[in-house]
Symmetry: C2
Subunit: 208 residues, 2 copies
DNA sequence: CCAAATAGTTTGGAATCGCTACTATATTAT
DNA sequence: ATAATATAGTAGCGATTCCAAACTATTTGG
């Protein structure tokens, strides 16, 4: 006999918080601290417009000052390289080095990826839907930005070439052409499109 | 056309991590730090056997040293009172004060509770199921203990009295009688029972 | 050309963290 | 009984992280 009123919302909150603590606690490994892992993860997934100190600060829900310190540490360790922008003299793009890519294989949060991998496809879909709603509610309420990939962004414009061989992709926000590989990278200027409702159906391909 | 392979496990992990960061970032409010909020939350929900520095340290995935510091700060602020155990001279029980109970109304993580409250009953059930599985996987893999309430614990023994008026509850682990109000408190020695599979159906009552 | 906004750094002080060493009490084995 | 070991908790160290505020340098808007 199932209870029609469902799980107590507080129970959900407790589970999320607990999960967050376990992740955080596992972040002290491989010689890095949790914030450093988070920076490497973010910068390895972000597109060229979003690999900045400010973007990471916003993604990581912290101040630019704190983010600056975290990045400084990683540059010193040789895991990030700073490339000043030719367009904007104030800005610098942060690129992860090959050493960092190798290190990311030992990212402690990979345990969580494995945990999610043990769930059934429908369980994963349900879980993702719920988490996205929570995230959306909190982001809206606190006026924070949400991050997402070009594929589900309103700023993406596809344009078939005359010879039907390939498609050109353009970001109407930054006004620049995009490589196909960039479509799955995280962007700070993400605006969810209609397609994003069908997000889970079109999610990055898994082994068939 | 829905993809049979479901959401990429990595997407789930990213959502959980992101949610955890937002919670953590919101924890610097009301004059307390995230760890202090976590301590107050835990100690206000834990039963008398579990309100110790060590239990909180384990719950919070940190060391006893760090937990000791966090608790010291809260005692100094008048939010916790230390009560040495008469049984075990090494141990002390931490009780939250009335000031702390009042403060908990402004717990920043209440936003997450509200967010969960906007979901439908079935969405909450799906979400809770998924989160519990993730937590279970990670706890088992890292040899960590899981926390839970007496109601779903194998150590709980119910015993109807002769005059069918009331029921006596006993914890077979600690060998002590339990008040009815204690059955919903968190315990460090939780061992999930058969009933816990039906957890969501029997979850703490919500307004009907 | 000047005011305001933005990107990023620096500094200070506090909190948090893992770690190690330490005290004191309990438990267990001998 | 006594010695060895385990447990509860604290203290100190050095590093990371954190916010807040002050600061430089560049860009943008009027």
């Amino acid at each position: 006999m199932s209870n029609a009123s469902g799980v107590n919302p507080r129970t959900i909150a407790e589970l999320v918080v607990q999960l967050g603590r376990i992740i955080h606690g596992s972040g002290y490994s491989g010689g890095l601290a949790p914030a450093q892992w988070s920076a490497l993860r973010y910068l390895s997934r972000a597109n060229r417009f979003s690999r900045t100190v400010s973007a990471f600060a916003e993604f990581h829900s912290t101040t630019r000052g704190t983010a600056s310190q975290t990045v400084k540490g990683l540059v010193g360790l040789g895991y990030l390289s700073r490339n000043r922008s030719p367009r904007d003299g104030r800005s610098a793009r942060l690129d992860v080095t090959d050493d960092a890519r190798a290190l990311l294989a030992r990212d402690p949060s990979e345990d969580l990826v494995r945990a999610a991998g043990t769930l059934s496809a429908t369980a994963r879909n349900h879980l993702a839907t719920g988490l996205e709603r929570l995230l959306g509610y909190l982001a809206q309420r606190s006026g924070k930005r949400m991050f997402g990939v070009c594929t589900f962004c309103t700023h993406l414009e596809e344009e078939r070439c005359q010879r039907e061989e390939m498609t050109r992709f353009e970001c109407t926000f930054f006004g620049e052409l995009l490589e196909e590989a960039e479509l799955e990278q995280i962007c700070i200027n993400f605006q969810p499109s209609e397609k994003s409702a069908m997000r889970r159906a079109y999610d990055r391909k898994s082994p068939s």
